[in-house]
Subunit: 461 residues, 2 copies
């Protein structure tokens, strides 16, 4: 049963499992204690820290183990902001960071600080010059992911790090998605990661803080992990995380090349096999194992369930699959289609056969979802009516219905005519312009309506 | 090799190990995902929550899994204080709480709030009336441990909960040491615990918040665990924690009775076998598996190392075994001897033979440490000199040297005469009065000196 959501959580690497089992017997005691069980635990902890620090590219005393990547980000950002309080209370992030970074920014704003969210291009990449321009004299911290978790696009970390260094601003790099594939480009001041993304166990994050970086841990004082990660350490998990990081790194180059070829196959074949698909994310500068695409006129949740029934586990940034009923902030920042969104992230060892099986199943699954939703089957709209203006009331209807209805009525106005779609679905803001781009129609703009929003589209084709 | 520090961390229970292994295969995926691996993880998480909630005595939706007991306390206290911000910013705790509670109090004070630390009696127990008197109209939260982690004394939780209810103040009970032995007396509003104290894995704490208790989680927003514990859950550890809690509870009554008998034997025999020992903690209302005593004229660190060499792993609240060079805040609050302090906490399954072996080794180990330190061998001081006043300069000397020197010179003044000990060792403040009580001498008091503190002792025997 192919599991294609490694970017969410990877199955435990065999080396991690083995190390975990050994450490359950040897590493359950408190490493701060003086007796033999404590000393044994201490040795394991020290060895795990050294191995992880080597993989990160830092000194062991710069590295703390946290309970998760999210906690590493929360505590790392809060500590760095507090340490640089004198410089100011301004934070720079990219618009496509992990929610733990964006929510840390929201928390800063709630406390009176300010946040600049640097936009990305249609591939999901920040422009280094745009990022540099966001740095201010009162910027306490800048954060940038090494690669995006939803679309795989690599960020220009080295260039942004250079700009931060010039501005005297520490840069935190969220390396959650990439650390298993290789070290982060030099120049970072803080680095975070998450073990279960590379095949380590859940329960372990990394927080590295370079010597000389001002850092003031928030919350109650605690002696563990240089005062940066309170609580009794989960030593067996830490040992397993370190061992598996070393193991995946040893096979990273080979496995990356293999998975990259599989992902390239998906990127090339999906648009051939499935009509009206947009592949999103940078085609070259990207994670080796991850590819994301969106299917017009498809309901993301139905698509996920249908793929699950066929035995494929993937995730989605479609609005209907999120608890907020909003499309993923990443897709929104990129300005790409969000309906029928599918993220395929291959775990290590994923087979060519599984990928072929996925490509074999996908067209039928998408077609059947489209059929159920009454999606328009013709690519070109009909000859056109005579009404120059037409209002489509899609209020109360959820993605992808407003776009499907738009596609059906665009032929009712002549070329040059305008369809105004009334919608109160958040996804429409993203998907109507994306549909226009894919269909060669003109997106005129949006304006507030009595209920919802009025999106205006001019027929061009 | 007998390990007698279960109160610090217990070896993994076989049931925990078994459950952990199974959950490594079944529970590595994200329980928030819709595909089969996610649904399977969700089922495991729900089952673990139900089992744990039953053991705690709360509803499943009142219980969150945190990465440790410390994080449960930090986040639970911060959230409860924030939720009751309108009532005020006053926190009541006992003086002998876990450091995670006391440090949370320090953090509150640093932010402008206030803390009342309710004193304890010589047994380590708070007086319910004294605790009730500390509650004020602006008290946002009260915290009390179910039983003390260093001396085993049970706290009057039910009485204090009653007082809190009357005052309209939520009570947080830290049940870290007791939850494996049984549920907490009813009446609490929040409850915390730590799985590795009952034989579960590290990496799992519990935070229960009763419906209706005002709670506002601090820090960046996160959807996991009702918004109370951010980060990807360590599901295998959570499953193991729940399974082992159920298992230890099933055998708790029988095992508690067995360990209580072993502890009673230690409590009775140590004072017979070792001269100048003070057994501390309540003799009856206490945890079944834990006993603490202090040995006059003994250096705690040396004692721990000597016991370790003999194969016994214990811990200590002596100043010389802590990084701050201060005696444990628990022993200080109780006003008992801190030098040569030993905490024995028996793990489940500890054998009578191991306890006998410990009792067999202890007298020789203590005698040898005392001999090395030149401790006075006579219980009664010599006939006495003629100088009515005598000043003993122990500046720069660490525990237990100042007390040893005091014992040696007390005979140099006549009955009624006064010895003034000059010391800059924090332990002296605790150990000189404790020595006086054990020796039948009169502790007059302390006053500031040019360097350190002058402790005055009047010879009575």
């Amino acid at each position: 049963m192919p599991y294609f959501d490694a970017a969410s959580a990877a199955p435990l690497h065999p080396v991690a499992r083995q190390a975990l089992l050994a450490a359950l017997d040897e590493g359950w005691a408190d490493p701060a204690r003086l007796y033999r069980e404590g000393r044994r635990a201490r040795l394991l902890l020290d060895a795990a820290r050294e191995a992880s620090a080597e993989a990160v590219g830092c000194r062991p005393d710069e590295l703390a183990f946290t309970p998760s990547g999210t906690r590493a980000l929360h505590d790392g950002i809060a500590g760095a902001l507090a340490g640089r309080r004198r410089a100011g209370r301004h934070l720079v992030v990219s618009a496509v960071e992990h929610s733990a970074v964006l929510h840390s920014g929201d928390a800063l704003e709630a406390e009176g600080g300010s946040v600049t969210r640097v936009p990305v291009d249609r591939s999901g990449r920040v422009d280094p010059a745009g990022y540099a321009a966001a740095l201010r004299p009162d910027t306490a911290l800048a954060a940038l992911q090494s690669a995006n978790h939803e679309v795989g696009t690599e960020q220009p970390v080295a260039e942004v790090a250079g700009a931060c260094r010039e501005a005297g601003v520490p840069l935190l790099v969220d390396a959650a998605q990439s650390l298993g594939w290789g070290p982060v480009a030099p120049g970072w001041s803080l680095l975070t990661a998450s073990a279960h993304k590379w095949g380590g166990p859940a329960g372990v994050g990394l927080l590295a803080v370079r010597k000389g970086v001002r850092f003031a841990a928030r919350g109650p004082v605690d002696e563990r992990e240089s005062g940066r990660a309170p609580g009794f350490p989960d030593l067996p998990a830490v040992v397993a995380a370190a061992a598996s990081l070393r193991a995946v790194r040893a096979e990273a180059a080979e496995e990356a090349a293999r998975l990259r070829a599989l992902v390239d196959r998906i990127r090339a074949r999906v648009p051939e096999l499935v009509p009206d698909v947009e592949i999103v994310g940078d085609p070259v500068r990207r994670l080796p194992h991850l590819v994301t695409f969106s299917c017009l006129y498809v309901d993301g949740e139905t698509l996920l369930h249908a793929l699950d029934r066929e035995g494929f586990s993937v995730s989605s940034g479609s609005s209907c699959t999120s608890s907020t009923l909003e499309p993923s902030h990443v897709l929104r920042a990129m300005g790409v289609l969000s309906e029928g969104n599918v993220r395929v992230s291959l775990p290590r060892g994923a087979s060519s056969e599984d990928v072929e099986a996925f490509l074999g199943v996908l067209p039928g699954v998408v077609a059947s979802v489209r059929e159920r939703l009454g999606a328009p089957s013709d690519a070109a709209p009909s000859a056109g009516g005579t009404a120059e203006e037409l209002v489509l009331d899609s209020l109360g209807k959820r993605c992808p219905i407003p776009v499907i209805e738009l596609a059906k009525v665009i032929g009712d106005v002549p070329v040059g005519g305008v369809v105004t779609v009334l919608s109160d679905d958040e996804a429409a803001r993203l998907d109507i312009p994306a549909w226009c781009e894919m269909r060669g129609q003109e997106y005129v703009g949006e304006r507030a309506a009595e209920r919802g929003v009025a999106y205006r589209v001019r027929r061009r084709a």
